[in-house]
Symmetry: C2
Subunit: 329 residues, 2 copies
């Protein structure tokens, strides 16, 4: 038996229940993890609320990221052995798999080893954040050392990963955040500059900080009317990646800025990387090397116990965190 | 002396005046054309109205495209000789140059020879339309033979050029037009399929015509609420090029389609090609070869006399044309 988090209806955090379920056996192409740490993602909050890209099939497990040790291997798996220390990559559907619990079965293509110098908590804080930022900035954005990169909502784990990837390329990371509360933390965590959008005019600040050039790459999970502000801050030929929909308001397309500056505005999701074997292999290599060299370093916020999963979700929804929220099993 | 079209105030077509002005001498890096034919563009209507990307400096000449014979060469020009049969490429500012008239001085980098088999009228109907469609579909869109290309407002000269370029690549050209009036003409001019948007549901027709795949490339000068319709018709990973703003209404960004299908929506203008020497050289080569092989063939609508330039502009604004409106000098 193992303690597993499931929900029987969509809704607030307290729909999450810790249940004793029989240990699952891994099927064809699957492995089972003895989970040591779980990394929390906003996608799971949306999935729990019934507002994600895919709907849960109730009762549903949930969770993309866990670190642990492989304790069982299904037929047809040759890349891993029992005892391997791995973490899971969000390359599967939460309609079929979920890693919140003491034990988790996942597809073998969706696990990877991580450097031994990292803790299990850090291991659960790798793939979602770094592969998401990698795909936009490196794979599609062709990040160069002379680029200015604008990173709104920068205190999320993905935002912080984008800051680290920008710095690793020798480019300039301009973070933005709504209130002054997280400004110093963002500077401490590596941002070259931080713009507080409630207090400062974002486009004119970006122009100042880039000697009138504007941002070459913008990596934005907010959308809504903010997209027009971002377009004003963009350099000629810039790409704006939209990877979320945090704003509840409609999103206008900034047509005249897009024409005058020939902007590219691109919807982007991690599955573009994780569902393409070549891109995923490039991304895993990039992230592994960055972790090993120390240029990439997961930033952890708070750790919760598995018993406190409801509280952990509530904390994520409160938006107080700087970095990854983890659950230690 | 030469008859030159100028306007002393922005406004309706009748601000255009035919004036007798002294022949200009070409300066450093410039050549002078004895004009034989002029190709009309919507950009010139917008410029005349004071609604273009750049404002006229009054009194102002206008016009991007003329075909003729070089009759004078300025200092520092080595690529051309007096007597060369060329046409002008829209690679300059109309604040400095305009080709409506019997004589026109233009920068030497903005003229090119065209195949001898083409008439002067056809020569004045090449560069704007083919380079505009080339840049989006070939240079950036990486058009492949298995692509479905959706071409709204397809009866414009640029739309027809896009149909020909799509067909030359072996891909499927789906044209759209508002009313049934131009449907048969579009089929006759090479479109594989024509969707009449006032009578048919565009996304479901595109899905039908592409066996459920959707359009890989969309080349749209309309924008406005129509962009949401186009996003519904797009294939996963599609690119929507926005190269105009014909709709007077605001343009919403189709955020959820963009995320679910990872769409790229890109503001695109011809200057991206004409102001970059390498891209322009590739584009000129592509267009010249296409014209010579017969895969590209300018489609002319009506020809006006230079004296009737006001009427010619009014006709363009009436949106009755299929193909290029030219003025024969």
């Amino acid at each position: 038996m193992a303690k597993i988090v499931r929900f029987h209806q969509t809704g607030d955090a307290d729909v999450l229940k810790l249940e004793e379920l029989p240990l699952q056996e891994p099927g064809e192409g699957e492995v089972r993890l003895k989970v040591e740490a779980i990394g929390l993602n906003r996608a799971e909050v949306m999935f729990r609320q019934g507002q994600y890209l895919e709907d849960p099939q109730l009762p549903s497990r949930l969770g993309y990221e866990a670190a642990g040790t492989i304790d069982a291997i299904g037929p047809g798996v040759s890349d891993f052995q029992v005892g391997d220390r791995v973490s899971s990559i969000p390359a599967f559907s939460m309609q079929k798999y979920g890693v919140y619990g003491e034990s988790a079965v996942v597809p073998a293509y969706a696990v990877a080893t991580y450097p031994e110098t990292l803790s299990a908590q850090e291991g659960a804080a790798i793939w979602m954040q770094y592969l998401t930022a990698y795909g936009a900035l490196i794979e599609y954005g062709q990040l160069q050392s002379n680029h200015y990169v604008l990173i709104p909502a920068a205190s999320s784990s993905v935002g912080l990963a984008a800051i680290q990837i920008t710095k690793a390329a020798g480019a300039v990371a301009i973070a933005s955040t709504r209130t002054a509360a997280k400004k110093q933390a963002l500077l401490d965590m590596g941002a070259d500059q931080v713009i507080v959008t409630e207090e400062e005019d974002l486009p004119s600040r970006v122009m100042e900080l880039s000697a009138g050039h504007g941002a070459d790459l913008i990596f934005d999970p907010v959308a809504g009317p903010f997209l027009e502000t971002l377009a004003q801050a963009a350099a000629p030929g810039a790409t704006i990646f939209e990877y979320g929909a945090l704003s509840p308001e409609p999103t206008p397309f900034p047509l005249f800025a897009a024409l005058a500056k020939t902007l590219t505005i691109r919807g982007y999701i991690l599955f573009e990387i994780t569902q393409n074997p070549e891109r995923l292999a490039r991304g895993k290599r990039y992230v592994y090397d960055g972790l090993q060299s120390g240029k990439l370093k997961p930033i952890l916020d708070r750790s919760f116990a598995l018993n406190d999963i409801v509280e952990a979700h509530r904390y994520m929804e409160s938006n107080q965190q700087n970095g990854k929220i983890v659950v230690t099993v």
